[in-house]
Symmetry: C2
Subunit: 346 residues, 2 copies
């Protein structure tokens, strides 16, 4: 829709207006298990059958299914026995829990946590800080204390991050040839999906995931199979505790959580621990230098305001942070997907 | 983005995921007065100047402005003094409070009320009913009691509806030649924007707005200028009280609030009061008969679940309701915008 057409009737603005309706329809169909049921059923089902299976009202379910048809997440066929619904291909791949590329967990995190924080976006802009206090009654001062305020919330967050790497992990790790680095440390590596992708793509590498003790506990128990001997764990707080020596440090979606001072402090610590000839790989969503986009990254930068102490940055800003910490030969690779890669060398 | 491309990378799903971020960025820039300030300033402003004028943090404002640039609601120019922001044309027309086509009020209603009700969409689908209780702690049993739970909320709703008619009113009233009807009754006509559009389009008509006493009070005081003698007011509850005689009844976005039984009851009452040769004009967003769309209407039907006792319907469903009440010669006109028109004759 061109801007000229919009001057007569604000189609684009109406679409923005309905954005949250669209998100919540998809999130809710995921949460109620619509796509899982239709994958398992082996054939199309009526709205009444789906409502009965999932224990919902029929009047609510029928409308939810029809809205999913409008979003092309479901297809409907009108038969003599009434309307029958089935998954579209993208729903089978991305919206069912069992799919290797499932986005289910990140959607549950968005739907139940992020959505409510964003209800207070105007307050976040006024105050310039995150909104855990208004949204969940927990202190805004320690973002990760707030995000991990219960084991359930921590699990949702870790599983959600793992979903992201199931669609973006390979691209960021293949952006540069990392095969010269054998000993890799994934700082704040959480649920470990990126570490698993790394040892799969670089079979001669070993990866140490470094994260808070309670995060490592859950990662070992729930996310990393014990037979995966190329992945080890290191418990600690990378701001307070020492960082082990390694050839390559991966900081994926870490710097965007923190203000410049803390980023510089962390990178200096990484530089000190890094073996000569080693490097650091930043995995972040990069803003254009001219502030024009990408839209997704601009929105994520707002989310950093609402949920953390950080922001999204341009490639030049990351390069500057790396260089201030002593890293050189900085290279930037945009992947065309959500996350990009920046490599610095010691 | 075609579905085949989405199989490799779920661009469409990621856009749906970010839908609520997009809505809230636009709503928040409206709420904080960004577009109003940039309209009044007469020239582009820096992020710092905007933050200072509007009393917000600079870190939050800069990101909000940049996200608006990504949404093409603002334009940015990089100058020697830094980035300067200005409104785009659609923002001047639709997002400033003072514009005759302003959508500001409907956005504030969406952002502060509807957004929070939709946080409980999964519950609404499970239970098949509206979510005022979870969202606002007020009883779900009387939707308009809940919607008008304070004068402030009622005002927001009325002003919001008026914004809708500022962009869709003329089309629904011009869908049929209504000039033969001189004496018109707008049932549940609220803030009166549609009534004003009606006397402007049909200069020989008079319109009686029929609504609850507290709604009529506010309409008289705040929305309808006293010099508009072609508009009169009738206080009442159209389910409980009598309906005055008229040649044409307008029911705009009324039937979609109620279940079939109540619609039949109301239409029968309207038919009885209607002068012979008169008619009824339903203004509603029509679903396609094959359940395929339009998406916007499917989403609104979900909103009816979350906020009312009703739903959106197809043209055939409205025709059936009209015919059951005794109306005939039913004609349907789709406008191509949000709301369509259905005319029945007595």
């Amino acid at each position: 829709m061109s801007s000229t057409e919009d001057l007569d009737y604000p189609q684009t603005i109406l679409e923005y207006n309905s954005g949250f309706l669209v998100s919540k329809v998809m999130f809710t169909a995921c949460e109620l298990g619509v796509f899982d049921l239709l994958l398992e059923s082996g054939g199309p089902l009526s709205s009444d059958a789906i409502a009965a299976h999932l224990g919902t009202s029929t009047t609510g379910m029928e409308r939810l299914l029809d809205a999913c048809v409008g979003l092309k997440l479901l297809a409907v066929e009108l038969t003599q026995e009434g309307a029958l619904y089935r998954n579209t291909e993208i729903s089978n791949i991305y919206l069912t829990k069992s799919s290797p590329k499932s986005q289910y967990h990140i959607m549950m995190y968005y739907s139940n946590t992020v959505y409510l924080c964003w209800h207070y976006l105007a307050d976040a802009v006024r105050e310039g800080r995150n909104q855990y206090e208004r949204a969940f009654g927990v202190s805004s001062k320690d973002p990760f204390g707030a995000m991990y305020r219960s084991e359930e919330e921590m699990l949702k967050f870790m599983a959600g991050q793992n979903s992201v790497w199931s669609i973006c992990g390979r691209d960021v790790l293949a952006a540069f040839d990392l095969s010269p680095f054998r000993q890799i440390c994934d700082l704040g590596g959480g649920g470990g999906a990126l570490a698993r992708e790394c040892v799969s793509l670089y079979p001669n590498s070993t990866v140490t995931i470094y994260d808070l003790p309670k995060v490592m506990q859950v990662a070992k128990e729930q996310f990393i199979p014990p037979e995966e001997h190329r992945i080890t764990f290191h418990e600690g707080d990378f701001f307070k505790d020492s960082i082990p020596e390694a050839e390559l440090y991966i900081l994926s979606k870490i710097l965007h959580d923190w203000e410049d001072d803390k980023c510089r402090q962390l990178l200096a610590k990484v530089h000190k621990a890094c073996k000569p000839g080693g490097g650091v790989l930043l995995v972040e969503s990069l803003l254009n230098e001219d502030k024009s986009g990408p839209l997704e990254t601009q929105l994520y930068s707002m989310n950093m305001l609402v949920q953390t102490e950080g922001k999204e940055r341009t490639a030049a800003e990351y390069s500057k942070l790396l260089e201030a910490a002593g890293f050189g030969e900085v290279q930037v690779k945009r992947t065309g997907k959500l996350y990009d890669a920046v490599l610095g060398r010691k």
